[in-house]
């Protein structure tokens, strides 16, 4: 091919709500957006959720993000996996932060090449809360499947997730900060 592949940088903050999966912009939960999220309990203690996304250009991950809900309890972990489900980087078990605030989880600045990845989040307590959206499974799983893994806190490597079986698969407000300042 004579012409270079078209590049497209990731958003400044990548979340399941603005991620690209393959070549296509994906919005999990069919229309769920940051503006419409609400606080809710982490569904199951120590369960992790995985959200596929694609990078179309090199990018540096500076921090990982977890939007704490109205009630604080337990610890959180957020991480990035490659397409083979090997963990590239994660925050590690971290005490849940301030209520209703996006918690910044500092990581070693990690350069990611173009490719397919998973963004994962887990919580050690179902009394802890996060901002999320959770429509019916036939809506979510038919558009952008969410994956889950039980007993996955802190985030394991490799991961062995399966398609989420929840009646209302949650799409949680976790993110990757691809800019130096949040």
């Amino acid at each position: 091919m004579d012409f270079p592949t078209q590049r497209q940088p990731p958003p400044a903050i990548l979340t399941p709500f603005n991620a690209t999966v393959g070549n296509y912009r994906n919005t999990y939960s069919t229309g769920a957006v940051i503006g419409g999220l609400s606080s809710g309990a982490w569904p199951v203690t120590n369960k992790a959720y995985y959200y596929p996304f694609t990078l179309h250009d090199w990018a540096i991950a500076y921090q990982l993000l977890f939007w704490v809900g109205a009630a604080v309890d337990g610890n959180v972990d957020v991480g990035i996996y490659d397409s083979q489900l090997n963990k590239i980087v994660s925050a590690g078990s971290t005490a849940m932060g301030t209520a209703n605030t996006v918690q910044e989880l500092n990581i070693t600045d990690t350069e990611l090449p173009p490719g397919d990845y998973f963004l994962a989040g887990a919580c050690s307590s179902s009394s802890g809360t996060t901002f999320s959206s959770a429509p019916a499974d036939e809506v979510v799983q038919s558009s952008a499947p969410v994956y889950e893994q039980a007993s996955a806190f802190p985030l394991p490597s490799p991961a062995t997730p399966v398609p989420c079986t929840d009646a209302n698969p949650p799409t949680v407000a976790i993110g990757i900060q691809f800019v130096p300042t949040f």
């Binding site: 940088p9 400044a12 912009r25 503006g35 993000l65 300042t181």
Partner: protein
């Protein structure tokens, strides 16, 4: 080489206008409206992604009711360098302001649409819904940043974390040539 042409996503270089409203799709369920500007000389930066090289032809913003005041609208690269701006531009109460700028070529990458004002007269903005601190968290999750003492927009800006939630509606007309 594949027999099929590569998929091309929606391309601002073909479509024309790109705005912070486009970039912030889903930030708020409420429509933008004239809101008091966040502080005299404060600039707000909203990230956009440009997938193909394009020329910036025009920049725009909207004004709420109330006379007076000036704004400066521009585009910055991801390092905080100003690429082009309108310069001091008088507000037009209850109307949009569209300014021709020197055609400026930008490449593929992440940029920031920026707006600063010399007062607190209303600028069309989105205020995310929710009770404090939720609106601010929404604005931050979209990667918006701010800087003080930025009127008119400086040659280079040090962008810092947001302390106020509002996101201005800024438009940019991009053309492939």
């Amino acid at each position: 080489m594949s027999d099929w042409p590569p998929h091309r996503s929606a391309d601002p270089a073909d479509a024309g206008w790109i705005s912070t409203l486009t970039a912030l799709n889903g930030l708020s369920s409420t429509l933008p409206a004239g809101l008091a500007w966040q502080g005299a000389n404060v600039a707000v930066f909203v990230p956009i992604t440009v997938p193909r090289p394009a020329y910036i032809r025009k920049l725009s913003f909207g004004c709420g009711t109330g006379a007076g005041g000036n704004a400066d609208v521009g585009i910055y690269d991801r390092f905080g360098n100003r690429l082009i701006s309108t310069g001091a531009t008088a507000r037009a109460a209850g109307s949009e302001v569209i300014v021709n700028v020197t055609d400026t070529l930008i490449g593929v990458g992440r940029y920031y649409l920026a707006l600063s004002s010399d007062g607190t007269a209303s600028i069309v903005s989105v205020n995310p819904t929710g009770s404090s601190p939720v609106p601010l968290q929404k604005a931050r999750l979209y990667g918006t940043l701010q800087a003080a003492s930025c009127y008119p927009l400086p040659t280079s800006a040090t962008m810092v974390a947001r302390t106020v939630a509002g996101v201005p509606m800024i438009g940019a007309l991009l053309r492939a040539q």
